[in-house]
């Protein structure tokens, strides 16, 4: 199965240049905003690589080839999910190389180094994002998934932004009360644990949906 992930990466060897570009541009753009640039970069790069890999599958019509071979459809789906981890790692590596270069050459761009929590947050973000994307992709195919996923991301983005807004303004809406009641007294570790568990459940649901959609697909 690793060979399938290898395939996704091999196809995109040309885009390595684009990834480097992403890193540079985002670093410059988000300088000094206090935001962890790396998480944004990881999400952007991973999204780009996932979309590109899916675009190539679509262009080649490779579904027909893979499904004529002795591979279970659920494994085809699984490799897509696993590839997200690889892409996140790749973006981390490129970012690290970039920060080292910046520090060595003393170019005046402030880059925050990768922190462990940052890395964890990056993984959680990229996985979450693709948990939304993949079922759409496996159900509707690449072309339609592009449109639908943009809408979905938008909705998600607005949703998360407004939740953050609410948290900051400390509105005493019921949602906030519930949230506070459940987590108010929790320690940092417990919150992290809860987030990871939620993410796992979410990913499992996403995977199950993707497999179901792909199993029923006709070519």
């Amino acid at each position: 199965m690793l060979n399938l992930i290898l395939k996704d990466i091999l196809i995109q060897k040309k885009s390595l240049a684009y990834i480097a570009l992403y890193v540079v541009i985002f670093s410059i753009a988000f300088q000094g905003t206090g935001m962890d640039t790396f998480i944004v970069i990881a999400v952007a790069v991973t999204y780009q690589m996932v979309a590109t890999a899916c675009a190539y599958e679509d262009k080649a019509g490779s579904d027909i080839m893979w499904n004529s071979m002795p591979i279970k459809r659920r494994n085809i789906v699984l490799t897509k999910y696993l590839s997200v981890l690889f892409y996140t790692i790749i973006s981390a590596l490129v970012y690290m190389v970039f920060t080292i270069l910046i520090n060595l050459t003393a170019i005046p761009i402030s880059v925050a180094p990768i922190t462990l929590p940052g890395l964890a947050a990056a993984f959680i973000s990229t996985i979450l994002m693709n948990d939304v994307y993949f079922p759409v992709y496996f159900k509707f195919g690449y072309m339609r998934a592009r449109v639908i996923s943009i809408i979905l991301f938008f909705v998600l983005f607005i949703g998360i932004l407004s939740m953050a807004q609410m948290a900051q303004s400390k509105q005493s809406g019921t949602l906030f009360k519930i949230f506070n009641a459940t987590f108010g007294n929790a320690s940092g570790m417990q919150i992290i644990f809860a987030i990871i568990v939620a993410e796992l459940i979410f990913t499992l649901i996403s995977y199950a949906l993707s497999v179901k959609f792909y199993n029923n697909k006709e070519f």
Partner: protein
């Protein structure tokens, strides 16, 4: 297990096309040609065998095993060559092989290398820079390099020049020296099958018209051509796909009595090719085509 493929009452409906309850069997050790005009259901049938399309009803057995229950095992033993390659254009032959080889249990690297050499395929050239002939040969090299017991080919030779087609047919002849293997060759270019096929299955409009040994098919049919007055006096009898023009008529006869009747009356009698047979039978089904 004598039959490498068994299809019983297979049906599949689309908006504007239906495969109606088709049945046929492929014995092992032979090359079976699957002929029919474009849109007759050849590709649909193959896709149903490979579970690329979901059948509405019916039974498909490959190597005696149900094609869904034992899907992975079956696909390990099938080599396929489709009319469009579905490779990643950006990758090289070598890279494609690295991706594909681990999928098969019995991948034979030596065999693959020997085919690459035989076909003169440039391993480090990208797929998109290959000619169509080279792409087909690559597909074939892959299909033959994992000890497949059956080769399924869907229009593999369309768009290829006669030399390449001849090379491919030679490879098929080599494969069939092993009487435990079978080849299923779907095409509308029947000249390839005229020599090499052992059995012929014809499909049109989602129906199987016949499934017979090729020699029998060609021996039992004759092309009859004659004057219109001849046709009027003897009558069409049971000739197939009769067409008339200003200069006379042409038709396909499927029984000796009819042929002799016309022969004695001075009509021109010819041996048919598979293309003739396909043409006349198709014309019969679609008289105004």
């Amino acid at each position: 297990m004598e039959n490498i493929l068994e299809i019983k009452n297979l049906s599949k409906s689309f908006k504007d096309f239906t495969l109606k309850n088709i049945s046929f069997s492929l014995p092992k050790g032979f090359i079976t040609g699957f002929i029919g005009p474009n849109g007759s259901g050849k590709t649909t049938t193959i896709k149903l065998i490979m579970n690329l399309l979901k059948k509405d009803s019916g039974e498909i057995k490959v190597f005696g095993l149900d094609h869904i229950k034992h899907e992975k095992e079956i696909k390990n033993r099938i080599g396929f060559v489709y009319d469009e390659d579905h490779f990643y254009e950006e990758l090289t032959i070598s890279e494609m092989k690295h991706i594909i080889a681990p999928v098969y249990d019995k991948w034979d690297e030596l065999k693959f290398k020997s085919y690459i050499k035989k076909f003169n395929l440039p391993q480090s050239k990208r797929i998109k820079d290959l000619s169509r002939g080279m792409k087909v040969k690559f597909s074939l090299a892959v299909a033959l390099s994992h000890n497949a017991d059956m080769l399924i080919m869907d229009e593999p030779t369309s768009g290829l020049d006669p030399l390449v087609r001849s090379e491919i047919l030679d490879i098929l002849y080599d494969m069939i020296q092993d009487e435990n293997k079978g080849i299923f060759f779907s095409t509308h270019i029947t000249s390839d099958l005229d020599r090499i096929a052992d059995y012929i299955i014809m499909i049109d409009g989602g129906d199987i018209l016949f499934c017979t040994p090729k020699d029998e098919l060609l021996e039992n049919h004759t092309v009859v051509k004659g004057s219109l007055s001849l046709l009027n006096s003897i009558g069409n009898l049971n000739m197939i796909g009769t067409r008339k023009n200003r200069y006379g008529f042409e038709a396909l006869s499927s029984d000796k009595k009819t042929t002799s009747a016309f022969a004695r009356a001075g009509a021109v009698i010819d041996k048919p090719t598979l293309e003739d047979i396909m043409l006349y039978y198709t014309r019969k089904e679609h008289p105004h085509a």
